[in-house]
């Protein structure tokens, strides 16, 4: 049986009807139509599906969509505003923190969660907080530089 839910994603309410076993990731991509959040391993290992629920990082492939309730969801689509990139997005571009781009939405959301809590993280703290985000293009150096740069810019 399907259950009604009203998901608040990036400040916009989406009314959906979903089955209990559906992951938040699949509902966002298939029902809501926001495909910025990626399906990598679909096994809670890689972090490509990382988004924020109530400001905190969640692997959306392993969380049931119905459990979100009315808590706000933030995805990569909500980072830019008024056509201007978020400082993290700008820094990723400037520092070469993107190669194939598949891990990038998850990296950005994990980095955002970190900077929201800790605006001036050390490199060790950045590495620790991005520990659940894998990049298979081995672009970590550029990613770490980008988060440091965004922090310095007051992201």
């Amino acid at each position: 049986m399907k259950y009604p839910a009203a998901l608040e994603v990036n400040g916009v309410r989406y009314e959906v009807e979903i089955e209990p076993h559906r992951s938040l990731l699949s509902v966002l991509r298939e029902d809501v139509g926001l495909v910025g959040t990626k399906e990598g391993c679909d096994d809670s290992e890689c972090g490509a599906c990382m988004l924020l629920v109530d400001g905190r990082p969640v692997n959306s492939c392993s969380y049931l969509a119905l459990q979100v309730g009315e808590r706000p969801i933030q995805t990569v689509e909500g980072l830019a505003s008024d056509g201007r990139l978020h400082p993290l997005q700008r820094a990723f571009l400037e520092e070469g923190g993107v190669q194939c781009g598949f891990c990038t939405p998850g990296m950005l959301m994990s980095a955002k969660a970190l900077l929201d809590l800790n605006p001036n993280p050390t490199e060790a703290e950045i590495r620790h907080h991005l520990g659940g985000n894998l990049c298979r293009c081995t672009g970590y150096a550029g990613i770490i530089r980008a988060v440091r740069k965004a922090a310095a810019a007051g992201a």
Partner: protein
């Protein structure tokens, strides 16, 4: 069968729902259950009892006895950040800090870690060395079961289908003497890792430097986390020395019965038990301000 979803706001309603639907999957953070379902390893039951809104299952509450009651929904992130745990039961936050990634620790709960009953569960050995017990509730009442008896095998627990694990109890540590503890593991990477071999130790050190009481728990080397009684016996009542630690670590390996799996062959696991136990003992002693040579740092 039609799939059902229950999301009660009160424990009483949750227990009533579970009484009527004992086959329901009890889901909190979903970090084990939803992953196992999606990977095809273990299908989620058709009925889902989502317990994440049960306020009664939140919070770490110090007891007047000096013990601690940890609600079922307390996350690894909360365990990691708890100053009460860090001060007195350090091995517990040590273990939670190693689980998964920030996202896993943010969603994964103590009850989920226990009920998933993996032989590699990070919290298993710390809970064993502190004689923790679990609180199980059903419509007709509540019972307490020691953690050591609760986990009965890989993925197996003594929870009856109509019961919910509602809290974990840590008994007080004896006053007057310092109890120090630590948990660490052999790992191949620093995040999103599962213990290859893990060890928790808890030591009660007297003022004269003798080890009054010793507990050693081993992770990922047997069907469940196990106490290493032979290793404990070597330490008990003795003055700490490097030789004593080595003998205790070697004796502890006698309690390991590892298997081969993708993470390591049994032989390697067996060989690593004394190494990890020794490291855990040294970390605990460092925290007591006591070195292996008996001097104070």
């Amino acid at each position: 069968m039609e799939r059902g979803y229950f999301e009660p706001r009160e424990l009483k309603a949750a227990l009533a729902a579970l009484g009527e639907h004992p086959a329901a999957a009890i889901v909190a953070g979903g970090t084990d259950l939803v992953v196992a379902h999606r990977s095809g390893k273990k299908r989620l039951a058709d009925e889902v009892l989502a317990i994440h809104r049960l306020k009664e299952l939140e919070g770490i509450e110090p007891q007047t006895s000096g013990g601690l009651r940890i609600g079922a929904l307390v996350t690894h992130a909360e365990l990691e950040a708890s100053s009460a745990l860090r001060e007195t039961w350090s091995a517990v936050p040590d273990a939670s800090a190693l689980v998964g990634s920030p996202a896993t620790r943010n969603m994964g709960t103590i009850a989920g870690n226990i009920c998933n009953a993996s032989p590699a569960m990070e919290l298993g050995s710390p809970l064993l060395v502190f004689d923790a017990s679990v609180e199980l509730a059903c419509v007709s009442g509540t019972r307490r079961v020691s953690f050591a008896e609760f986990v009965t095998g890989p993925g197996q627990t003594a929870r009856r289908p109509d019961e919910m694990l509602t809290a974990v109890w840590l008994p007080p540590v004896p006053p007057g003497v310092r109890t120090v503890s630590a948990y660490l593991r052999l790992e191949y990477r620093q995040a999103m890792e599962i213990a290859v071999v893990g060890a928790a130790v808890a030591l009660r050190i007297a003022k004269d430097g003798a080890c009054e009481e010793a507990r050693i728990g081993l992770t990922a080397v047997a069907p469940t986390c196990v106490r290493a009684l032979e290793g404990e016996a070597v330490l008990k009542g003795q003055r700490i020395s490097p030789d004593l630690l080595e003998r205790a670590a070697v004796a502890a390996a006698g309690s390991a019965r590892p298997i081969d799996d993708v993470r390591a062959p049994a032989e390697y696991r067996q060989a690593m038990v004394p190494v990890i136990v020794r490291q855990a003992l040294e970390l605990a002693l460092k925290r007591s301000g006591q070195t292996a040579t008996g001097g104070r740092t």
